[in-house]
């Protein structure tokens, strides 16, 4: 896709004001939260949870210009990927 102008695609995880000794830590914190959040769910339940999560975060972001670019960026990668 063309470079997004409103969507932030730089690493952005963290708690405001907190310093991180290792740059990977806040992203890994998030990823663990995400995977743990799904623990014990069936595939169908996980799919529903993901949809709810997208909607919650989309509402939090609010800015339709950002959301439009995010949808385009997400979709682009799906159509290029080969399966597996």
């Amino acid at each position: 896709m063309t470079n997004p102008t409103h969507l932030n695609t730089e690493p952005h995880f963290g708690i405001p004001g907190e310093r991180y000794r290792h740059a990977y830590t806040p992203g890994d914190d998030f990823y663990e939260m995400l995977i743990e959040g799904h623990r014990g769910l069936s595939d169908e339940q996980s799919e529903l949870m993901n949809a709810r999560l997208v909607l919650l975060l989309a509402n939090h972001v609010g800015d339709l210009r950002v959301l439009k670019e995010a949808i385009a960026a997400a979709r682009g990668g799906v159509e290029e990927s080969s399966g597996v």
Binding site: R21, H22, Y31, S46, S81
Partner: protein, 538 residues
């Protein structure tokens, strides 16, 4: 057995204690002459302790085990007098590349700045490391190393531990004032004492192949770590490649939980996997011989408490991680770095026994950090649920386009030392500082100017407590410790956010105990008392 390495055989000697009715009293016994037990023994000897080191075997680590030694472990090995030999024999690297299929999706540099004596990582087969450490230990008169002396039972007592040892000539008993247990992941001592070690078993199997190549994938002075998710030569699984010493290369293939370890170890299964990697990566002209093959599983777990009275557990005996991140041997060596100065002060009567509680709390904190990082990497590398597989696939896809996606790719976060932020030994800051040399942090190295004596800062730290003073050469304090003066022009001043008169109290394990913008003797005395558990917590 191995074509590139000849195992040394260390001499067994019959113990003089055979046939004695009462057990011999000794100050300190270390069980296990692996990297951790050897580091403990050497550190203890350098700190003035007589050490009896027992090992059931008479050679070094057999086969392919620990490989990567991180900067902090190398700095500790420097202090022990073994760093130079390890770096000289090993293969230095800083850059890791992660591929998805054929495309590179992420890379990291473990040491992005100059002005450090040691690199981010050195690869060296565990048997070489152990050989270096055994030679170092044998050169120290304070260490008595007994090979083929197998500890068969330990009975903790209020004033030490009664130890029964089996040799070819019979059994004998020791009554040790203090016992350091470094007898590895299976820890016979831990088991015999019935102590719990709890955690998570990962349902996956990995093939480890050490091979001697007759060519190279990259020159030794540009060594890198390569990791593939779903490469064309091993579809659907991951592969990790490291260069070792002596033209040996290590390749780890993820096999999946259903793989049969006995079948997968057979050369007719292993050779085509390696051939496919070499051929598909453009090294069809490179031939190889198998050096060592095994199939392993792993766990992330730790003992609830590392201290049980006068019995202290260190290394794999106390905690275990997956291999992704090189956090096993590195953290074990850091255990001994933390333990031995405290044990020396306690054994000499210069600190109360409760100082050793801080060994347990600090190193349990480090183990938790290592286990968390290792577990995260392993969960990313071996996703099990459908949703975690989908997220992994999404991250790897996004990583091709977006920086934030690359930041989430986790093929192992490599060993870094723990900053003990809440250590009871640390004095909280009164003054403002930038940077990372917070109380509890491992001291950063830096080159010193000729006027400062040259060499490296860390060489000046670590024999005892040191007061590191910046930009105040005239400062005189009446203190029972060594004072090291450093100027304000170099990398040290920048890394320690120093101004004229800034002072750091550095522990014997080179961690920051306290720091001030303006220092006086009373403050240093108070911080020293706290760092040696002389003062009880308020």
């Amino acid at each position: 057995m191995l074509s590139t390495y000849t195992y040394p055989r260390f001499a067994y000697r019959a113990p003089p204690e055979l046939g004695q009715a009462s057990p011999r009293r000794v100050p300190l016994v270390v069980v296990g002459a692996g990297p951790v037990g050897l580091a403990a023994a050497i550190d203890g000897a350098l700190r003035g302790l007589p050490v009896l080191l027992l090992d059931e075997d008479d050679t070094v680590s057999v086969g392919s085990r620990g490989l990567c030694y991180a900067k902090r472990a190398l700095e500790i090995l420097d202090r022990l007098g073994a760093g130079e030999a390890v770096v000289a024999k090993g293969v230095t690297w800083n850059v890791g590349r992660t591929f998805h299929g054929r495309q590179e999706v992420f890379n990291f540099n473990l040491l992005p700045e100059a002005g450090h004596r040691r690199p981010g990582m050195v690869n060296l087969q565990q048997y070489w490391l152990e050989q270096v450490l055994v030679e170092r230990a044998l050169a120290l008169d304070a260490i008595e190393l007994r090979f083929r002396h197998k500890v068969t039972s330990v009975e903790p007592r209020g004033d030490g531990a009664l130890i029964e040892v089996q040799t070819a000539d019979g059994r004998y008993r020791l009554l040790a004032d203090w016992l350091v247990v470094a007898d590895g992941a299976r820890s016979p001592v831990r088991r015999q004492l019935g102590l719990d070690i709890e955690g998570k078993v990962f349902q996956d199997r990995f093939l480890i192949a050490d091979v001697v190549l007759d060519g190279e994938l990259f020159p030794v002075d540009r060594t890198e770590r390569w990791f593939w998710f779903d490469p064309p030569f091993h579809a659907g699984q991951s592969v990790l490649l490291h260069r070792e010493a002596d033209d040996v290369w290590r390749i780890d293939f993820q096999l999946g939980w259903d793989a049969d370890p006995e079948v997968e170890k057979q050369p007719e299964r292993v050779i085509p996997r390696i051939r496919a990697l070499l051929d598909q990566q453009g090294y069809g002209h490179v031939g190889f011989e198998l050096e060592w093959v095994s199939v392993y599983t792993f766990q992330c777990r730790r003992m609830k408490r590392f201290r049980h009275g006068r019995v202290l557990f260190a290394g794999d005996a106390a905690h275990q991680v997956s291999p992704f991140g090189a956090r096993g041997a590195n953290s074990g060596i850091q255990d001994t770095d933390n333990l031995m100065w405290k044990l020396a002060l306690v054994m000499k009567g210069e600190a109360p026994e409760r100082l050793l509680d801080s060994y347990a709390s600090e190193r349990q904190e480090a183990a938790d950090e290592n286990i968390a990082n290792s577990t995260r990497a392993t969960d990313f590398i071996t996703p099990k649920s459908r949703v975690s597989q989908t997220f992994r696939r999404a991250v790897l896809g996004l990583a091709r386009e977006f920086a934030f996606g690359r930041a989430l790719v986790n093929s192992g976060r490599l060993s870094v030392p723990t900053t003990h932020r809440d250590s009871p030994l640390s004095t909280p800051d009164e003054d403002g500082f930038a940077g990372w040399m917070v109380p509890g942090a491992p001291a950063d190295d830096a080159p010193l100017a000729g006027a400062e004596g040259g060499g490296w800062l860390l060489d000046r730290l670590g024999r005892g407590f040191v007061l590191l003073v910046f930009g105040a050469p005239g400062l005189r304090l009446d203190l029972p410790l060594e004072v090291v003066h450093v100027g304000l022009d170099g990398a040290a001043a920048q890394r320690y956010d120093a101004r004229p008169g800034t002072a750091y109290l550095i522990r014997p394990d080179q961690h920051v105990a306290a720091r001030w913008r303006r220092v006086d003797a009373a403050r240093v005395h108070a911080a020293l008392a706290r760092a040696t558990a002389q003062e009880t917590a308020a």
